[in-house]
Amino acid sequence: MNALILSAIWGVVMMFSGIFTKSGAAIRGIAITGLALLLVVNVLDFQGTALVDINTRGMLVYNTFSYMFLNIVFGATLLYFFLSGSDMERVGLHLAEYFALIFFILAGISIVASFQTLLMLFLGIEIISIPLYILTGSDKRNLKSNEAALKYFLMGSFSTGLMLMGIALIYGSKGSFSLETIGAGTGVITPLLGGGMLLLLASMSFKVSAAPFHFWTPDVYDGAPTVFTSFMATIVKVAGFFAFIRLFETSFGSVQAQWQLFAAIITAATLLIGNITAVFQQSVKRMLAYSSIAQAGFMMFALVSLNGKGSEGLIYYAAAYSLATIGVFAVLIKLNDYTFEGFNGLGKSHPLLAATVTICLLSLAGIPATAGFMAKFYMLSAAVENGKVIWLVILGVLCAAISVYYYFRVIQAIYFKDGEPQVAEVSTTFKVVMVLIAVLVVYFGIFPQRLTDFLYMVY
């Protein structure tokens, strides 16, 4: 709750900082301070020292998973600010407002990490979505950015409409918004409840870009300014998954047998479409958009299996995937040419950047000794533990193999092709943070329990 309040307040602080200073470095400094405070407050809250204690009447309930997830989100955003904060200045004139919108999104994420009623779910999802529409269209002179924003806005509003319809149907059948009331006594699915659940499944799949609701993803991720794509594809996406799984675990967990096949088919389609289409992309930015769909397929395993290992795996996956993707995007932003050829010869001209980005790509591909491998391992073993979807596990392994192809195409361009990559000036901070990300990726890959142990720590 404290993180929610502070992030909303800091959004307002960022708005006012735009009046008093025009210096990009100062605004960035305020944003980074705010985020560091947010992280501290959340950790304190985790340990039981809340700054303000508000009775939410059971509408927001934080458990260790929520706190851990929020810690990962804030940590990843902090790294993202350090890496790409300076590139936001190139998008447009409203740097302070961009940061304000990102803080509002973080407030929305704090809601979806802890909602206990459908009302809060709706509010949280909307608080995440509306600033994102704006950030997508923030490059106003670029027609592609405008198109992406409009497309995202129209489709996003439509899926929100579906979600509201679903919430209304569920309310009609159960007479309550509370997830626990909905979950209690849901032994059989009645028509109203089933209809509502189906609509919620569709709209949440849209928000996390799972196939067949993924059509907006490549266009929006490609059209949006790359700095914001990086944020959208990582932190916002994992927040969507967290909400998705929290919703279905609490309210429809008891009837899982009836919708598991649906979820499994969505997962299979997401894996296949994401991976196979990514193979044919010419632009690395678009490839990363499809790769984010493919990775969403793996995160869907937590929904299909719906057990402790799956939730644990989702937390771990959130960290592994966000870190690696933020790293790759940060380097991509510095390049002039977003095609695979743009990476040619990076290994010779910028050995440090090349090495760190390679580690991130290896992690995304799921090579052992990186966090990505352990993340995929968690997800697949959750599905094996569930036992009913072994065919999906086999498909997952095959798709992971396909994904190696397109990630290694970038690595091949970096090290085995000659060229003169045009790279913008990179600061020392950038290099330090890139090294930090690479180290974290390898560290969590070798000692995965260092992250998941926090979930079972009792203060």
Partner: protein, 167 residues
């Protein structure tokens, strides 16, 4: 058939017909006008359900303010049939088929729904009065009520970012 029931069927038919004409009519101004009729019909439903406050707010805010704004924008943009882009025939067909499937499933499902035959409290009860609503909003639902201010604030910031001149 009581007067309430007659009103209910009349408003329902009006809402469905005008909602369809929003989608079907070629002229955007007709679409907007039909949408206003839809809002009126829905407001009538609210009032039938004893939700007077929401019914009136729906009229004032949506049918009144927003739709008038809408109408102005459409008239200023001078849209007409000639420059409406031709949509793909197959795409239209696919839309009709998938939308129809959803409707079929829902109609089939809700025919046997658990609340079927239960009629909402239409005659007595003061659940929709401003006083009751205000009490619920500031007691039970005060947290979502306050949090929605973040949503509106972010929308306002967004409008400024998109609308401001200079870049």
């Amino acid at each position: 058939m009581s007067a309430t029931q007659i009103l209910f069927w009349f408003l329902s038919a009006l809402a469905i017909v005008s909602a369809l004409s929003v989608v079907i009519s070629k002229n955007p101004v007709y679409s907007v006008l039909s949408l206003i009729i839809t809002f009126f019909a829905v407001s009538g439903h609210y009032i039938l359900l004893n939700a007077q406050f929401i019914g009136i707010v729906n009229l004032i805010v949506y049918a009144g303010a927003i739709m008038v704004l809408f109408l102005f924008v459409i008239m200023l943009m001078n849209l007409n049939q000639d420059n409406e882009p031709q949509k793909n025939k197959w795409l239209k067909m696919a839309g009709v088929v998938s939308g129809g499937c959803l409707m079929l499933v829902f109609v089939a499902a809700f025919k046997t729904s658990e609340v079927n035959g239960k009629i909402a409290q239409t005659i007595d009860g003061n659940i929709g009065l401003t006083e009751t609503l205000g009490k619920a909003l500031f007691n039970e639902y005060v947290v979502p009520f306050e949090i929605s201010s973040i949503l509106f604030l972010s929308a306002m910031v967004g409008a400024v970012v998109i609308g401001k001149k200079g870049d």
